[in-house]
Amino acid sequence: MSEALSPPSAVDKIGAPEVTVHDPGQLIPIVRRTPLVRCNPLTKIAVALILMVGTLLSIDVVSAGVVLGFCLFGLPATGLDLRAGLKRLWFLPLGALLAAWGTAILAEKTGAVVIDLGPILMTTGSLGAAAAIFLRALALAIPLIVLASTIDPRDLSDALVQRLRLPEVVVVSVLAASRLLGLLVSEWQTLSMARRARGIAGGSIVRRTGSLFAGIFVLLVQSIRRGTTLAMAMEGRAFGRPGRTWRRTSTFGSGDCVALVVSLTVCVLAIVAAHMFGTWNPIVGG
């Protein structure tokens, strides 16, 4: 399918062989098409929501740990380029750690004192809460990242229109516009280059600010122009005519069933385990 697309001579230079040409707008590139990648986008959303329920209901180490453990265990099945993902999202564990640090200092001080350095006081209770926050943050983030990276926007719009019966003109317009949104990033890069080429990048703060605003204005003009042109191009190809068909049928398969059952099991397991270990600490009514 893609032999002609990547020059073979380039392979040894970049380490891993390229499977296909990646979409530059993708959060984390997909390197293998696993059964999970092939699932219906609605299933993927459902799986993420179910796992979220398992994590969100209670602030404790066990339920968050079960979900996180499952997520980490299941990562290879997502077909994502994990090294690229780590490179791009390295700040996530760091952020979770920061949140945990804050909790450890500020949470209710119960149990035995572990660290006491004047203003920094940590007890077993506050450290436990911190660990739960850390695990929860990651257990919430990972399914969402996988979701955002493996859903093809086009598949999603197919599913939304064909399965959920959302209005097609709205869905297709949003889909096309979302591509423009992704273009903004590369557009901004080009604009920065263009300003550098004209000699007005850098210099004093005043000059930098001035050139920044000039750049923002051009970006705005460009976005409006692109939006108008895109609308014209879509209209010019008979968009808006009643009786639109769809190239692909959005289907549910056995893989979707398995994904749903597995995620439900994990969710239940997380809640049951928290109860069994006596750590259940619900966010409401607790």
Binding site: P7, S9, V21, D23, V218, E235, A238, T245
Partner: protein
């Protein structure tokens, strides 16, 4: 079944302008006729095409008179017309090639199995041998143009409307794209209207030519009649229409650029100012280089033309040479007078204020480079930053406005100009401070014969002042006119430098 196009006193005025953009016009195009629409840059050709396609937003201007497709006013939702716009970048609709081609067919309500087959055949017809899942964001400008054509090809509409369909396509492939359009027409006997500055490419294949002048319709008739009439030919030349077979005569008046081309020996006398060794280039964050193994030595005062098929990495190479993106592998070094005073040899590491007077870059899309609110200020910016005196700046601006035919627009906002005008302005703004090396990406896009000659004159003047010009262009006539060495890029394959100079390989405008 094809449809006729008729107009009675039709005109269109943009909401923010006093003058009419189009017309008033009387037009009559028969069903199944193939029409080439010509006119000077800024004559309203694009606006007329949009009107025929029925996509002019009603709130953006005012129409008078009548315009009919068949016996009804234009309405794109009937699916009778297929429109390919001038700007290839903004008309990509979806993020996958297959979905994009299928878009029109889905709108027409074709069954899925028919769509699948036609996606493949239309992609093949336009020479895009890519997987259906190929991301459209990874396509080059020319490939995007082919993609848009494939989308229309697949719809098989009754009226096909094309705005400069081959402007970004390399000349070798332009012929195959044209033939694919003609085949589509033959299969559906659709009415076809084409705006194209490459007159020679289409002339033998159209039934009639319509020429728009500054004040409405100039003439309409068979190509033989329009171009065979000596009186008319003069009027056409005055309007800047490319008169076929007379590429020499266009520039054969008092400013014959070919004569002033420095000969090969004087060119090689210049010192090397930019050198690359085993250079690989890639867009930022790309994992695979767009072109590899490039060995270039660019000398002071010489013109270099970078040519190659769509997607070969020409624009990426230009950005790398201009010091705007880092090298993927290897190095770009500034030598001699270009590198003097620099702490480092790599232009990518130079500060912006140091880079701009030395290496200027004209981007493929002119809109990106405009920073001021009027044409004159845009031209004055570079020289002023370079520390020129007010008198010098004014003189330079007046000179550039004159050569490019932009005097009347000196107070206009750059973003409001027509496609061809923007192109000229972006080139002139970069040229204004006389950088030592000028790198340009498709400088002659959308130009008529007169504005083209003006651009050639500017480039020759730049070369005369000892500057170097590196031009990415599919326009061989332009490269010949400025006496450019050719550097062929073949993407992943090793490139080769063809050492011929304009004088010994005189190619036509279109191969």
């Amino acid at each position: 079944m094809a449809l006729s196009i008729t107009a009675h006193g039709y005109s269109w005025r943009h909401a923010d302008r006093d003058e009419l953009a189009v017309g008033p016009l009387d037009l009559s195009i028969d069903a199944g006729e193939k029409v080439l629409l010509l006119g000077p840059s800024g004559a309203g050709k694009t606006t007329l095409l949009h009107a025929i396609a029925g996509v002019l937003p009603a709130e953006s201007g005012e129409a008078t008179g009548e315009l009919f497709i068949g016996d009804q006013p234009p309405d794109p939702r009937r699916g009778e017309t297929g429109l390919v716009l001038q700007d290839p970048d903004s008309q990509v609709i979806f993020s996958r090639v297959g979905d994009d081609v299928a878009f029109g067919m889905e709108n027409l309500g074709l069954p899925a199995d028919v769509i699948e087959g036609r996606v493949s055949s239309s992609l093949t017809a336009m020479g895009l041998n890519l997987s259906h899942d190929h991301p459209t964001a990874a396509l080059s400008g020319g490939q995007k143009q082919r993609l848009a054509l494939a989308g229309i090809h697949a719809m098989a509409p009754q009226v096909i409307i094309l705005d400069e369909p081959t402007a970004n396509i390399d000349p070798d492939s332009a012929v195959s794209v044209r033939d694919a359009v003609l085949e589509t027409q033959a299969a559906t006997s659709a009415t076809v209207i084409i705006v194209e500055h490459r007159v020679d490419l289409w002339l033998d294949h159209v039934d009639s030519v319509i020429v728009l002048g500054p004040d409405g319709l100039l003439t309409q008739g068979s190509p033989r009649r329009v171009f065979g009439d000596p009186e008319l030919a003069e009027a056409l030349a005055e309007c800047g229409i490319w008169v076929p077979g007379s590429a020499g005569s266009l520039t054969g008046d008092d400013r014959n650029p070919v004569d002033s081309v420095p000969d090969a020996s004087s060119m090689s006398a210049g010192e090397v100012v930019l050198r690359t060794e085993q250079l690989s280039v890639a867009r930022p964050r790309a994992k695979v280089p767009a072109a590899i193994g490039l060995d270039l030595s660019i000398r002071a005062g010489e013109a270099v033309g970078i040519v190659g098929a769509n997607g070969a990495g020409k624009s990426t190479l230009a950005l790398t040479l201009a010091g705007l993106i880092p090298e993927f592998d290897g190095q770009v070094s500034a030598l001699g007078s270009l590198g003097s005073g620099a702490k480092r040899a790599r232009p990518f590491l130079w500060p912006s204020a140091f880079l701009a007077p030395r290496i200027g870059m004209v981007f493929q899309e002119p809109e990106h480079q405009f920073l001021r609110s009027s044409v004159a200020e845009e031209l004055a910016l570079g020289p002023r930053l370079a520390g020129w005196s007010t008198a010098q700046v004014e003189e330079r601006v007046a000179e550039l406005l004159g050569v490019l035919g932009l005097e009347k627009l000196s107070d206009a906002h750059p973003q409001g100009l027509s496609g061809g005008e923007k192109r000229r302005l972006s080139v002139a703004a970069m040229m204004a401070p006389r950088p030592q090396v000028l790198i340009v990406d498709e400088p002659t896009f959308g130009q008529d014969a007169l504005t083209w000659a003006g651009l050639v004159e500017l480039f020759l003047d730049t070369l005369d002042h000892g500057s170097t010009v590196v031009a990415i262009s599919h326009d061989h006539a332009f490269l010949d006119a400025i006496g450019a060495h050719r550097f062929f890029l073949n993407g992943a394959e090793s490139p080769k430098l063809q050492t011929s100079v304009a004088g010994d390989t005189r190619e036509g405008r279109v191969k």
